[in-house]
């Protein structure tokens, strides 16, 4: 069983000694050519995944879903339904694997925990003043403490994009370190960059390294609350970052694209990106997740079609 990452990669401790050192390091990372990156992502999107490979990919994708509800209108009943679905996604076919986790707001963690009790499904919680992250650090840490105390196995934190875009990298770093410490050994930490707001690929690569240096267990694209969320290109870029980070430090970090991945076809394209970029070590729900809510039903419908040869339609999967 892989263990949670140490708080800082030993080979790179110096680079976080000061704001200037951190900036020099992050700006010294290789640049990203947007045209080339997007072309590569598009090429990998043309891989043809059929028959046994498709069946395998669909089950793998289901097992990687963080089944998510992040609405102001969430109720305990809705969270319980979500938990039941995560444990047994397809009531008509018990061979369908469980999802990786359910992802809820901190006040719903206890309810979710109960709903998935006895299963391997984890409970993840978005803390740190999600989704804007615009709160004082002690407020964010209190949010995290609440979630962990309620039993969250995973904490999804958002970074302070304002500080990042202003070049105050050490502030962002320190916050992640603080959240990581608050999670302790109880919870794995996913760090959300909100890539749509970071706006350049260079920024996304810098944010990825910043998050990993600060001890993130996962780096995650986005909250799902802005216009541009996970894309093949930004996920490819983050996969390159975790691959390079492991090569340099020996520490493996997971990747979670979130928001906007709705179809099996899209999910399979992301798995191809994982397979051909970071490699098969990441093809496992300990290291790769999909942050999605509507994706699961499409995966289940495709799974039913592969099993029966017929496409039955949305009434043959549960609505939540």
């Amino acid at each position: 069983m892989p263990t949670n990452a140490p708080t800082a990669a030993p080979a790179l401790t110096d680079v976080t000694a000061s704001d200037a050192a951190l900036r020099r390091f992050l700006h010294g990372l290789p640049g990203v050519d947007a045209v080339g990156l997007e072309a590569r992502a598009a090429t990998l999107g043309t891989r043809s995944i059929k028959t046994t490979a498709k069946a395998y990919a669909i089950d793998l994708a289901i097992s990687m879903v963080d089944l998510t509800t992040l609405e102001g209108a969430d109720t305990p009943g809705k969270v319980r339904a979500l938990g039941a679905k995560a444990v047994r996604p397809d009531p008509t076919d018990r061979t369908a694997p469980a999802t990786a986790a359910v992802c809820v707001y901190p006040d719903m963690v206890a309810v979710a925990k109960e709903a998935v009790a006895g299963s391997a499904v984890k409970v993840a919680s978005v803390a740190t003043a999600f989704p804007a992250g615009r709160a004082a650090l002690d407020v964010k840490l209190a949010d995290v403490r609440d979630a962990v105390a309620a039993g969250a196995d995973e904490v999804d934190m958002v970074i302070d994009r304002g500080a990042f875009l202003a070049g105050r990298y050490l502030k962002v770093y320190d916050e992640i370190v603080a959240v990581r410490e608050t999670c302790g050994t109880a919870a794995r930490l996913k760090v959300i960059f909100e890539t749509g707001e970071l706006s350049t690929y260079d920024n996304i690569r810098r944010a990825s390294w910043l998050g990993m240096l600060a001890g993130a267990d996962f780096i995650k694209t986005s909250t799902g609350k802005v216009a541009v969320n996970a894309t093949p290109a930004n996920t490819l870029l983050m996969l390159e970052a975790v691959r390079d980070f492991r090569a340099q430090t020996g520490v493996q970090v997971g990747v979670k694209p979130a928001g906007g991945i709705r179809t099996s076809k899209d999910a399979i394209k992301f798995l191809v990106l994982v397979n051909e970029t970071a490699g098969e070590d990441w093809l496992d729900n300990h290291w790769f997740r999909f942050g999605a809510s509507s994706l699961l039903n499409d995966l289940l419908m495709q799974r039913q079609k592969l099993a029966t040869g017929r496409y039955s339609g949305p009434d043959y999967v549960t609505v939540d």
């Binding site: 290789p30 050519d33 045209v35 043809s48 870029l237 098969e280 093809l283």
Partner: protein, 482 residues
């Protein structure tokens, strides 16, 4: 946990259907709008390089056939060149549209006959073929405004000889500008890849192109030599090896024939230490492993700044390990078969020479199919300018890696070659791209990309890579009396 999943993510084979293309057991020459036997009845076979299966038997044009074809083209020239440009454009647009409609069929055919992956014929070759016809169709009625004086005149009969690496694309590069400018054409495709040119003959008939405007003469080198030497040919265009190009130049010297040559290359791909590394790795792969390296503008010499050599090579080797070699009709295949046994022998012998001269050879773990002609992607490190693998064009999936310390050294090494067709520059610094590109003696310099083609962009060489330009407005000049 994912312990339920034990097997790795293996893609199942996804072969493109062969049934979309109907290959006849034999084909004739295409002269004056008709398929016909060769005068002396000679035939040759064309095989699929990935399986060695015989695909079809092809009539082999001799001198008498060349004469018949040139006469047909001469007869057709009068009416064709007299057509208003807009009328010629209609035919070209029609051809372009038919190519688009039949692109799946043509892509499969090209993959069968050439051995290159369907991913490339489908996603690169065929779209570019159609684009070239569309582009030059657009020029046909605007020749007065192309910068060659008012109402420039066509040359007459164009004798064109094309290679086997991009059979249909090279045909398009040659035929589209020739027809747009009002010339008529006799084209000889390569002996290992005649099929797509013969299918193109059918496209011409489907488009209602007047008889004799396009003639296709499959054959070997002697057919090409007869075509080049024919006294009634006004223009010779050749793409192929430098050795053959030199022979053609000698033949044509002293005649009034106009000549363009697109010959070999030994392109330098220069990676500076501030390059976007991941995209540079993709560009290196695309530069040398696209079409199994059988590309005259391939980036076959990697010049990497010494400070990042180790890091870059490690990334490159990891990337090469993910290349998928095998059945070219499989949509997931990245590396297909070498075009012919002869070419495979040439690659093998040059690679052995590289090893004998002390360069370090590396290939990813890679299983080669039993039948057909295959060569694993190969890297040479510890290469110097003095090594054969840094000087000779290998025309295969073989990359020679050299290093440099300063921009001046990079430029000096890049230019230190008898060739000058292509080069690449990788750096995040815009000013450096411009400074270096200006100093490189190469017809095409790509920056932060490689092997990108577009009909609007002229293509051609310096030094032993030939002369003349194809593509773009410049490509018209080769077919006009200017």
């Amino acid at each position: 946990m994912a312990s339920a999943f034990t097997s790795a993510f293996e893609y199942a084979p996804a072969p493109e259907s062969r049934s979309v293309v109907d290959i006849a057991p034999s084909y004739g020459l295409f002269i004056d709008g008709e398929f016909t036997e060769a005068a002396d009845g000679r035939v040759f076979k064309t095989v699929s390089p990935s399986t060695e299966e015989v695909l079809s038997e092809i009539a082999q044009a001799g001198e008498a056939d060349v004469d018949r074809a040139v006469k047909a083209a001469r007869r057709a020239f009068g009416a064709w060149s007299a057509l208003p440009g807009a009328e010629r454009a209609k035919y070209l647009f029609r051809i372009a549209r038919i190519i688009q409609e039949r692109s799946r069929e043509l892509a499969v055919l090209e993959t069968l006959d050439n051995g290159k992956p369907i991913r490339e014929t489908r996603d690169a070759d065929l779209p570019l073929v159609a684009a070239h016809f569309f582009y030059y169709a657009g020029w046909a009625d605007k020749l007065d405004h192309a910068g060659f004086g008012s109402s420039p005149k066509p040359l007459g009969v164009a004798g064109q000889v094309i290679p086997w690496n991009f059979p249909l694309l090279m045909l398009a590069w040659k035929i589209a500008p020739a027809l747009a400018t009002g010339n008529t054409v006799v084209l000889k495709p390569a002996e290992t890849t005649p099929l797509s040119a013969l299918f193109f003959a059918d496209v011409c008939r489907q488009a209602g192109l007047p008889r004799g405007v396009v003639n296709i003469l499959p054959g070997y080198g002697d057919t090409g030599a007869a075509l080049v030497a024919h006294p009634d040919v006004n223009k010779v265009a050749f793409t192929g090896s430098t050795a053959v190009g030199k022979a053609i130049a000698k033949t044509v010297a002293g005649t009034r024939k106009k000549l363009t040559l697109e010959l070999g290359g030994k392109g330098a791909n220069i990676v500076f230490d501030d390059a976007p590394i991941d995209q540079a790795v993709e560009g290196i792969v695309n530069g040398i492993f696209f079409n199994q390296g059988q590309v005259c503008c391939a980036g076959s010499r990697l010049l990497v700044q010494e400070s990042i050599q180790e890091e870059l090579l490690e990334s490159l080797k990891r990337r090469l390990s993910t290349l998928r070699l095998g059945d070219p009709l499989d949509k997931n295949t990245d590396i297909g078969a070498i075009n012919s046994e002869e070419q495979l022998t040439r690659i093998t012998s040059l690679v052995e020479q590289g090893e004998a001269e002390g360069a370090e050879r590396w290939s990813p773990a890679c299983e080669l199919p039993n039948a057909g002609y295959w060569f694993a992607p190969t890297l040479f490190t510890n290469v110097t300018q003095a090594h054969t693998v840094a000087r000779d064009e290998i025309f295969g999936p073989v990359l020679s890696v050299l290093t440099f310390r300063t921009p001046d050294e990079a430029v000096a090494k890049a230019n230190n070659t008898p060739y000058g067709l292509s080069a690449g520059v990788w750096t995040e610094k815009g000013s450096r791209i411009l400074a270096v590109a200006n100093k490189l003696r190469a017809g095409v310099v790509w920056s932060n990309t490689f092997n990108k083609f577009d009909p609007t962009s002229p293509f051609g060489g310096y030094k032993e890579s030939g002369f003349g330009r194809e593509g773009g407005r410049h490509g018209l000049e080769a077919y006009l009396d200017v």
